[in-house]
Symmetry: none
Subunit: 356 residues, 2 copies
């Protein structure tokens, strides 16, 4: 993973979540990264994050297309005009379509590696990018007909980002993501839709289950309408199967044994989801601290962190409804956690038991 | 929150996740807690976790019934035999049923406070208990016809556990949880079921979206079959509405505009889930700032915020260990955003264009 990368300059077309996250990870490894985006503000932030100056994309040894499905043909046109001859990798959400589009272009199909990193967030855009986005995640490639060097570069790229290469034909990929990504997206959106028009007091009772099942309903409609339309033939049978199961449940909702069967079938389903791919999960200790919800408290707490040189890897703030206190949870390394907890407590902070 | 509780001994019938978590939190506050369970091993673990000796339940000032729906009548019988006269609180998942059951018993309805903490985990049982399970969560009560002291005790209990009291009639509660809890549970289970019988290689591509939407599909069938059956009249219309939306989606899956509408409707739905500070999720301006990733930077930035009295409503840090730059995004009110941006820039910070 720490081996030197076989390329030294990369152009990334598309400075959204995925493109910028790839750029961040490669910059860290000393690769010269040029970020492009049709939105100049986005491109500016992305290039600033790289900590180096962008070059002409035509000079890049490797080009990564990190654009929505609908923008991929435009990437092809741009590269055709630049008489681009080197390796092209795409990271779009479906795979049959880009493979066909490259095969119809003047670009070399054997220099094109179709890929798809199974990493994303409900938040899109450059601001959500992070270099460790791909850590421990599966990253699909289709090596069919790809020339040896292009394949080696693609694998080196993926492995250097901490992801796990999974080689499968584009057609299988599109079936698979219909099941593990597109179906959950649509069902989450339909579920979230049921909340509209209901009394606000009902929603006051919302807990973690509702939040988790509807989290991805926050996803971007523009991005998703394209993905779904482009893969509708794989998605439709899955929706029909779920609709049929749902209709049976409606007919049997009063039967305890039927309902128990539905829950058991669900348990059997999630048991099939593989665990982490041996990759490093980001393992931190989470330190919950109850603070007063007023300006200055966060500054004070970070002053304390700085005093003991504890680096905050992540954090979350939870304000309880109507409460004057908030809960801030700091994610720190296991070794920093013990030091920080002792220090904060000695300074009178209300630190609670850490969890891993 | 730190006020002395108005009772000093509590008996908790049912030593599962909820009962034991309540017990842990009360023990920490010096209340003498007696844990009961029909399973003696479970009861033993639960009592050991309390760090004190259990007493006779009949001597407890307050009894909390933390049992599955089907076991509540047994709790009533036990308390009738013990000629229990003090305050009874239940925490079962539905509310019309226990209210009716108490009203038909020889127990005093005015000494019974029906409640439901909106906290749970996909893992059940004594081993999953944690004292902070209720921190910041809504906890429904129905105060209708409840005597003053019983109500005051219940509220003191709930607030001491860090939860937020929400008073609503039992019938409204059962409608509300059908929407925010029971529907998500069933849909999550049905979604997870679709994974069975598919090629294992497809599931290798599973990402965070699938994991989140199916997390609660791990829930206990025995517990859930009772809850669903007891509330089927409220759940059935919601399932039918979702089934109808699903059928429309199947018919229109190839229409980009229809699919975009489904995703947008979902976004509108989750926007109704209350966020911070109780109300509807507030709208903030998000200010992205590129910082050096080293201790002290966060403290410095929050010092700047304090100088202009900008209150940070939320924030995120995006970076990975070892990376030299990080992106911190501060969520502030629209009015604070302009002031803060100007101030930070004058102090030399690398602030990028805000988004709403």
């Amino acid at each position: 993973m720490s081996a030197k990368l076989p390329f030294s300059s990369v152009g990334i077309i598309g400075s959204g979540l995925i493109g910028t996250s790839i750029g961040l990870a490669l910059s860290k490894k000393g690769v010269s990264v040029t970020m492009l985006d049709q939105d100049s503000r986005t491109q500016g932030i992305a290039q600033a994050l790289m900590g180096n100056q962008g070059e002409e994309i035509s000079g890049a040894e490797l080009v990564i297309a990190a654009v929505p499905v609908s923008a991929f043909p435009m990437v092809i046109t741009t590269l055709e005009r630049a008489t681009f001859k080197s390796v092209l990798i795409d990271v779009t959400s479906i795979k049959i379509k880009p493979v066909l589009e490259v095969s119809k272009s003047s670009l070399s199909s054997s220099q094109f590696l179709p890929t798809h990193p199974m990493a994303g967030r409900e938040f899109s855009g450059v601001e959500s990018a992070r270099a460790d986005l791909f850590e421990g995640r599966p990253w699909m490639i289709d090596s069919t007909g790809v020339e040896q060097q292009a394949l080696a570069w693609g694998k080196a790229l993926i492995e250097s980002l901490g992801a796990q290469v999974i080689d499968m034909p584009a057609a299988d990929h599109d079936q698979a993501v219909a099941l593990v990504s597109h179906l959950p997206q649509l069902i989450s959106s339909l579920l979230a839709k049921q909340l509209t028009g209901k009394p606000a007091s009902w929603l006051e009772l919302s807990g973690g289950g509702l939040r988790d099942t509807t989290r991805i309903a926050a996803s971007d409609p523009t991005l998703w309408k394209e993905i779904i339309a482009a893969n509708s033939s794989a998605i439709a049978p899955l929706l029909k199967s779920l609709a049929s199961d749902l209709n049976s449940l409606v007919s049997n909702i009063e039967s305890e044994s039927f309902v128990a069967g539905v829950i058991k079938d669900g348990q059997a389903g999630i048991a099939l989801i593989p665990g982490k791919h041996g990759g490093k999960a980001r393992e931190y200790t989470y330190l919950p601290i109850v603070i007063e919800d007023k300006p200055g408290q966060l500054a004070a707490i970070f002053d304390e962190c700085a005093k003991v040189s504890a680096n905050i890897e992540d954090l979350s703030i939870e304000h309880s409804p109507g409460q004057e206190t908030g809960l801030i949870t700091l994610a720190v390394s296991h070794s920093d956690a013990a030091i920080l907890k002792a220090h904060l407590e000695s300074e009178g902070w209300d630190v609670h038991a850490p969890r891993s």
